[in-house]
Amino acid sequence: MASLYSAFLRRYVLLFAAAILAIPLSLAAQTPSSSTPTDVVIQNATVMTVTHGTIPHGSVWIHNGKIAGVGATVNAPAGARIIDAGGKYVTPGIIDPHSHSALGDDVNEATSPVTPSMMMIDAFDNRDKALYQALAGGVTTELLLHGSANMIGGQAVVIKNKFGLSRDEMLFPNAPRSIKFASGENPKRVYGRRGEVPSTRMGNFEVMRQAFEDAKAYMASWDAYNAKVAKNDKDAVAPKKDLKLEALADVLRGKLLVQIHCYRADEFLTEEAIAKEYGYKIRAFHHALEMYKVGDKIAPTGTGIATFADWWGFKDEAWDAIPWNAVMSMREGVRVALKSDSNDYVRRLNQEAGKMVNYGGATEDEALRMITLNPAWIIGVDDRVGSLDEGKDGDVVIWNMDPLSTYARVEKVFIDGDMFFDSSLPGFGTTHFNGVMHEAGFGGSDDEGGGQ
């Protein structure tokens, strides 16, 4: 009883306090709870930097959790922890820009097509086994998204896969906020079968437009109020704070990265038109299996895509999917990331990238960028992670061989310079995890399930 109570305290009461005081745990997140060696040097490896080529027999020096040097030689101080990686490959940590891991079955608040104030962090389960299995596949950063039941779903949480640390310590510090939109079959099906709107794509987009009209009216009411306050109008009455409309207003204010689930070429164009109409930018289309049809038109908008390597045919809107989509879209100038949308594929995104060498002749650098720097950009953290460059976070994976090979295995994973996985260790191979993992939640795929 006592232990249960203390677990409860630890888990909820303290978190609640933290949220109110907004101090203690956010500090904890910046100082890893374990003793991290100040300097780590991984040397003698084939270093795939992503941004500046591959260095044979290169070294990566991590100082205080940040990359301090990458090259044929580095100026690490004596006493640094040296890891000889002779014959091995080193890459930045893999980044999954579309995951539903560790959200239990709480992926979709499918009770209304517009739920922008749902915060995925409120469902985040840091002991989900899917996180561990992803870590063992070299994944260090994930964007955990709301599902696609709703036209406008909730706000994502960005995590670093520091499996074994506390829930708050796994949050990516100061990551930009993302919000999930969706259109097409899933919202059609979910609401259509209840006899509600939307049951068509017409309904899809009408629901969105009305939501933004409501948000504009809400913003106008606040603008009017603030104007009155500025003029010292004593009769000014503050409008009611509305979480839903606040979130939509933040979309219109450009404060949220908009991540849109959709498959078809016509929908990309419709979504871009609506974004233009209401003055927000789309960060990325997710799935985007028909981007190869209109890549030339989407490239100038700057919107990226997070797509599957070779998924196809599982639903009507995936019927025209081809495995050359990613490379063809990339050649059109679209920024392309691969993603898992699955507790399964998240374990081997390196192989999904490897397929791009086959399907379209991507170079190894291009393929690797699709699971590192480009997904980092989609999440808005490409200045921090996604490549082996000085000043970036010390998120580094050591592989037994070229990671784009089917035969590649992850040997060690460092996050912020701290080792979280070592396959040579007995048991789980984890360095910070003790206790019991939770059975995985919904996890994907195509994000239509959980919570409907």
Partner: protein
Amino acid sequence: MKATILTPFLACASLIALTASAQTVQPGPNKTAGMTSKTIAIVGGKFLTITHGTIENGTVIMSGGKIVAVGTAKATKVPAGAEVFDARGMTVYPGLFDAETNLGLTEIASDQNSNDLAETADEIEPQMHVADAFHAETVHIPVDRLNGITNAIVAPASEDSIAGQDSVIQLYGRDRDQMLMQRDIALAMNFEGSVRRKANYNGPSKFPTTRMGLANQIRQAFLDAQAYEVERAAAAKPDHKGAPPKRDLKLEALLPYLHGEKPVVLAARESYEVEVAMGLAKEFHLKVILNHVTHAQDVLDEIASYHVPVIVGSVYDFPRPDERYDAVYSLPAELQKRGVKIALSSDGGGEGGGRNLPYAAGYAVAYGLPYDEAMKAITLNPAEMFGLGDSLGSLDVGKTANVVVANGDPLDVRTSVKQVFIEGTAVPMVSRQTRLRDEYMPLATKKP
């Protein structure tokens, strides 16, 4: 960069003269101008024979739909008039055999109208023949074929305890008659918790709602079939009086399996499920191919002691929360190490489809399975399990000329298959997907 994308797409037309001529015959997923009687020699390259090692710089001669010669390029004479396929720098291997698919039983998973995966009114459905639903013109077959899959078991979805009878197909041919190599080649059985689907905790349930019920029902079905056979035999005697028993297709369907004439593919995932399922199989002397066994790590020695082949996996099945991340990846290696004959399957295919079968084999290699054994697990082993080892699964004289040419290691995700031969015919390297690709390709190539 612009140039690199072109190379694989043009199917090496400049490199391989034959490809161009083959593709003028009749491009299309299945339509052929009839299987060729031409003699074709694949010359050069690295030949993975499966049965007798690797031949560097080899030659395979195909004629009349069969392999008529295999050897080193030096020792193997190319007959006059043979078309020569230049495979220098390539890897040549037998067509891959997928030990469990739903090919031709589903088109778009979310569209029920396109699904003929399993009858679910009852758990005992041995009288269902996938051959009766097999859609030879499915778009999925050319897609899988382009990655080197030439043969597959078509099985009903794992919905019932006895789901129906499998067929074996080749992934090319004029129509179903040519593609269905053998119907009713095996019985699809499942002893898995997922079949226990009739429990309704909020309303009336139907038998069976437990594994006890499932086992009981399976046992009764085989007992009924045995009784039916006795009754039928008695009625066949000249001195028999009265009407013969009414013909019962369901019970009749079980008889070849009770006689051990054909294998049952027996699926179970948890160790205790494997043990109960094998107990039932022994009771009725069934000839078993075990399937899945993905959470049976604690009874691997016991599985080896059954002396039955195993279709392992999928290797992508998730470990339990108390298992190490590689508990399932390493399962093929662990079983093979114990002397078990293993095959791998795409097991329904997943969202990427059955074309990813060779990569599952490659992943098993990453986690300890010897390379040659991985190749066998997707060629010769499944062929042998289903009684087709004499005609499929290796580069040997007399076997069906199902041969694949790729630009590298077949198990590596980066490798591109360049040409597939089925029954000695160069299959058009075209699918609905390549046509979409080519239709939109100018968009992708026009920019710098």
